[in-house]
C-alpha cells in the first residue's frame, strides 16, 4: 500500500531530482541537464552571453543542428536564400565560438531537433532537457522532463545550466483499450486536444498512460507527447519501460557498458503512483475514429466521419468551410507528410503502405519530408522513396519544411492542405493557407484520392 501523502507522479520525481534551490510559490531553480539548439531561436541567446561576458557552462551538454530554415531540396547547392544562409552560418559560428557541437547540414545526423536528439540517444529518461522550441515536449516520451523555452532562457541555460520554473499540476490522460486499425497516437492526441481545449492543459504537466500508450512504439509515443503544447501544456510524459530501454540500447550518445546498467536501474524507478494525480482524463482509444482538424486552432477537430460544427465566421471564412458540411470528400491541393510530429520511419512506412500501386490525384502537390537524414536513409534502404516517387510524391531532404513554411516550401493563399504537422494556425503553412491536421495514413490517403477520405474505408487489406 502506498501512503497517499507521499504519493508522487513521475513529473514530481523528475522535478525533485533537479531542484538546485527552492523559491517561493512553487517556483524552484531547476538544473537543466541538456539543451538542443537550432538556428532560429538562438542568435539572440548567444548575444545575451556576449553582452554579459558569459561562457557556456557545460558545452558537452549542448547539441546544435539547423532544421527550420534549411532547404529540403537541391541541397548540393547549399542554402540559396540569403537570410537563411546567414542564420545557419551564424549558428555554426556561435557554436564554434562557444565550444558547442554543431551537426552540419551535410551530416547524416542532421534533421529536426526533436527527431535527431532521441535518435542519437541524446534524449534519455530521467533528465531535464530544453530547447527554444515549444515542441520540446516530444522528449517527454522517454520519461524526461522536457519543455520549450524562449531565447532569453536558452541563454540563461547555457550560462548557468539552470532555469527558474514554476511547478505545474499533474494530469493523467489514460487511453483505455487498443487502437483500431489505421487509428494512431496522432488521433489520440488530437482527440484529447478536442476534448480539453487548446488551453485545457495550461498549468498542467500531462502524463499519458493506459493500454494504448503502453502498446505504442517510441515513435508513436513521441507523436503523442509532441502535441502536449497544442493542449496548452508544456510537458507531456510517458513513463519509461522496456520499449524505451530497447529503443535507446546502442544509440551513439546513450550511456554504454557499466554506465548503461546503472542508468537502466535508475530509469526503472521512474514511474507514477496512481493516487498522486490532481486531474484525470480518460479516453477510450478503441472507440476513436481518425481525427481531422477543421479550424485554425488545434482543438477544432472532429472524427473524419463527422460534420463541421459551429465556429466563428472569421475561422469559417478563412478555412472556406460551412457549418454542417462533412469533411470527408473535401478536395485538397497539398498533402504534407513531415514535421517533428510525424516524420519518423514508422510514419513513412504507414503512409507508404497505403499506396499499393496508386498515384497522387491530379492537381495535388504531395510531399514527404523525412525528419532526419538518418530516417531518409533508412526509408531509402527499405525502398520507400521509390514507392513514394513512383506514386508522384516529392521526396525531400530532412527539415521542418512545410510545417512552418520558412524555408521556401509554402502552401499558396487559399489552397487547402492536409498535413501531418501540429499546427493549423492561420498562415502557418503560408499566408492564407488552409491547413487540416491528420495522421500520416490519412494524409497519404487524401493525396491519392485528391480529397479527404476515411482511411478505414479506403484501405483494402
Amino acid at each position: 500500500m502506498t501512503d497517499t501523502k507521499n504519493a508522487q507522479t513521475l513529473y514530481d520525481r523528475l522535478w525533485s531530482d533537479h531542484v538546485v534551490a527552492r523559491g517561493q510559490q512553487g517556483r524552484d531553480l531547476l538544473y537543466i541537464d541538456r539543451h538542443i539548439l537550432h538556428e532560429v531561436s538562438t542568435p539572440q541567446s548567444f548575444e545575451l552571453l556576449r553582452e554579459n561576458h558569459l561562457e557556456v557552462r557545460r558545452p558537452e551538454t549542448q547539441l546544435a543542428v539547423p532544421d527550420h530554415a534549411v532547404p529540403t531540396r537541391d541541397r548540393g547547392a547549399g542554402i540559396r536564400e540569403e537570410l537563411a544562409r546567414r542564420q545557419v552560418a551564424l549558428l555554426e559560428a556561435n557554436c564554434r565560438a562557444f565550444g558547442i557541437e554543431y551537426i552540419p547540414l551535410t551530416d547524416e545526423r542532421q534533421g529536426i531537433v526533436h527527431v535527431i536528439a532521441p535518435e542519437q540517444g541524446f534524449t534519455i529518461p530521467g533528465i531535464t532537457i530544453v530547447c527554444g522550441d515549444s515542441h520540446t515536449a516530444t522528449h517527454g516520451a522517454f520519461g524526461a522532463l522536457a519543455f520549450g523555452i524562449g531565447a532569453s532562457e536558452c541563454g540563461t541555460q547555457m550560462a548557468t545550466q539552470c532555469l527558474w520554473q514554476t511547478r505545474a499540476k499533474t494530469m493523467r490522460v489514460t487511453f483505455t483499450g487498443a487502437l483500431p486499425a489505421h487509428v494512431t497516437t496522432k488521433d489520440m492526441i488530437l482527440a484529447l486536444i478536442g476534448r480539453i481545449g487548446a488551453s485545457g492543459g495550461s498549468g498542467y504537466a500531462l502524463e499519458f498512460a493506459g493500454e494504448a500508450v503502453r502498446a505504442a512504439s517510441m515513435e508513436a509515443r513521441m507523436t503523442l507527447c509532441n502535441m502536449a503544447i497544442e493542449a496548452g501544456s508544456r510537458v507531456g510524459l510517458v513513463a519509461p519501460d522496456d520499449t524505451t530501454i530497447a529503443y535507446l540500447d546502442g544509440r551513439p550518445r546513450a550511456p554504454q557498458g557499466r554506465s548503461w546498467d546503472q542508468a537502466v536501474a535508475h530509469w526503472r524507478t521512474l514511474r507514477s503512483d496512481d493516487e498522486a494525480f490532481e486531474r484525470e482524463v480518460e479516453i477510450d482509444a478503441a472507440a476513436l475514429a481518425p481525427q481531422v482538424t477543421y479550424g485554425t486552432s488545434p482543438d477544432q477537430v472532429i472524427g473524419v466521419d463527422e460534420t463541421v460544427p459551429e465556429a466563428s465566421r472569421h475561422t469559417m471564412d478563412y478555412m472556406g468551410l460551412n457549418v454542417g458540411q462533412p469533411l470527408a470528400g473535401l478536395p485538397v491541393d497539398y498533402a504534407f507528410i513531415g514535421s517533428c510530429t510525424n516524420s519518423r520511419i514508422e510514419d513513412l512506412r504507414a503512409a507508404a503502405a497505403l499506396i499499393r500501386g496508386r498515384t497522387v490525384a491530379p492537381g495535388v502537390t504531395a510531399m514527404v519530408v523525412p525528419g532526419s537524414t538518418m530516417v531518409k536513409r533508412q526509408a531509402e534502404a527499405e525502398g520507400l522513396d521509390k514507392l513514394f516517387t513512383a506514386a508522384g510524391f516529392e521526396w525531400h531532404e530532412a527539415g521542418c519544411s512545410l510545417c512552418v513554411a520558412m524555408n521556401g516550401d509554402r502552401v499558396p493563399e487559399g489552397k487547402r492542405s492536409i498535413s501531418t504537422s501540429n499546427r493549423n494556425f492561420e498562415g502557418r503553412q503560408g499566408a492564407g493557407a488552409r491547413t487540416h491536421l491528420a495522421s500520416p495514413a490519412m494524409v497519404c490517403a487524401a493525396a491519392l484520392a485528391g480529397r479527404i477520405v476515411d482511411v478505414r474505408k479506403e484501405h483494402v487489406s
Binding site: 538546485v20 534551490a21 523559491g23 517561493q24 510559490q25 517556483r27 531553480l29 538544473y31 541537464d33 532560429v40 531561436s41 542568435p43 539572440q44 545575451l48 554579459n52 558569459l54 558537452e60 527550420h68 530554415a69 536564400e81 537570410l83 546567414r86 542564420q87 551564424l90 530521467g126 527554444g132 515549444s134 520549450g148 523555452i149 524562449g150 531565447a151 532569453s152 532562457e153 541563454g155 540563461t156 548557468t160 545550466q161 539552470c162 527558474w164 514554476t166 487548446a198 488551453s199 495550461s202 503544447i229 496548452g232 508544456r234 550511456p255 554506465s259 546503472q262 542508468a263 486552432s297 512552418v404 513554411a405 520558412m406 499546427r423 494556425f425 492561420e426 498562415g427 502557418r428 499566408a431
Partner: protein
Amino acid sequence: MTAVRTVSGKAVSLPLDDIDTDVIFPARYLLHTEKKGLGRFAFHDRPEIVAAFEAAGHPQILVAGANFGCGSSREHAVWALAGLGLRAVIAPSFGEIFRGNCANNAVIAAAVDARHIGGLHAAAAAGGEIAVDLEAQEVRADTLAVPFAIPAGDREMLLEGWNTTTRLLALHGEAIAHFENRQRAERPWLWNKDETTP
C-alpha cells in the same frame, strides 16, 4: 533590464481568444537574427489588427483574449510587441512560454479574471487610459480597479529590473556547484568522464 513599476497610457483592444505567436509574428520573418526593429512584422498578416493599433495611437497596453500568445515559443513575438511600444498585455490567460518571455523583456503579462476582461476591453475601445500597477497588482481604468495575477518571481524580477542570468550565478553559484558534484556521484552517466567540473 530596466525596472518596471506602473505602465499607464492608451490601450488597444483585441478581443479574440487563442491568438497564437504565429499570428503575432509570422514564421517567415523568423530569419531575422536581431531583437530590435521587429515591430514592423507584428500581426503582419492581419491588417485589421495593425489598423486597430494605429487607431489607438501608439498604445502601451494591449487588452487581449484568453490563451494569448499560445503556440510557438518564439520570443520574437514579445520583441515585436515591444517594438510596437507595448509594455503590458492584459488577458484572462496566456500561453505559458509567452508569459515567461514577457518577463524577460520588461513586458508585464497581467492575467485578470475573465469576468473583468469585458470592462477593460470597453475601456480600451473607448480610448481611455489604463494603468497596470505592478506593485499593487492591479489594473485601473475609469472607475474600474481589478486585481491581476503574475508569477511572484516574474513580478520581483520586473520590479527590480534584475538580469536573470547574472543574478542567478551570483546568488546560486555555490548551490549549482554543489548540485553538480552530487549528480556526478549519483548519476555518473550524465557526465562525460573527461568533462571538467565547471
